[in-house]
Amino acid sequence: MSPGAIADVGAVSTQIRRILRELGVEPEVVRRVGIICFEGETNIAIFTKGGRITLMVWDDRVELFFADNGPGIEDLELVRRPGYSTAPDWARELGFGAGMGIPNMEKNADTFVLRSRPGKGTAIRATVWRKGNERQGSSAGPGA
């Protein structure tokens, strides 16, 4: 992806925030989902030729799925460490590539699943529980 294409980063987050607000999702959840989405968008724009972001809104949670066919992530442990980045110089000059993207996504999500295969692509699922509904989903489990 060319440096020019990064100018649209933030467009998906803005749209998603608008949808969530219209659905009456709690402001704190909207804020956290917005940050997760922005960082995911940024990674797709910097590292891949494009990807797909899916938003799912439930009574008890909001989920974001990111999927791309980009270069994948070599070291899944390292990429979760704040400060580690493989961003190219053009992205760093714009103030990206501080090595905070994945950690920032993880910090704002209640559950965060990252799968990647070098040369194949990356998939991320981030879940944010809605206030007052935390762990409600497990109430049907044995012994509950």
């Binding site: 100018a7 933030g10 804020r31 940050i35």
Partner: protein, 120 residues
């Protein structure tokens, strides 16, 4: 203290000023967008040397009260246009980041409505 008052006292030049009544609760300095995404608080004035479109996106997402572009070249016209469109206050200054931060800090510290020092 609102953005209009901050702009007046610091002598900032508005590039886009759709919400001059926005309340300025604190300040934040960084040229790293991810750091602003992670650490800036809603209502903060963000002082930066970056002056491209993504700055507007971060300010919008983080619900910042204004962005102050420290001394440097004029941003591309589409940056101010995007800020206007997204409802982001974007102002510029001929002062550097250090001076702007010091003056803003003193200004907010002297305002009984805000206590930047307490935010660490």
């Amino acid at each position: 203290m609102n953005a209009r008052e901050v702009a007046r006292v610091l002598g900032l030049e508005p590039l886009a000023f759709p919400h001059p009544e926005a309340e300025v609760g604190g300040g934040f300095c960084s040229d790293l967008l991810s750091r602003a995404m992670a650490e800036a608080s809603p209502g903060d004035a963000w002082i930066t040397y970056q002056r491209h479109l993504n700055v507007v996106a971060v300010a919008k997402l983080k619900e910042l009260s204004l962005v102050i572009l420290a001394r440097g070249p004029e941003p591309e016209p589409e940056v101010a246009a995007r800020a206007e469109e997204e409802g982001v206050n974007l102002l510029r200054s001929d002062d550097g980041m250090f001076e702007l931060a010091g003056r803003l800090y003193a200004l907010l510290a002297g305002d009984p409505e805000t206590h930047p020092a307490e935010r660490g």
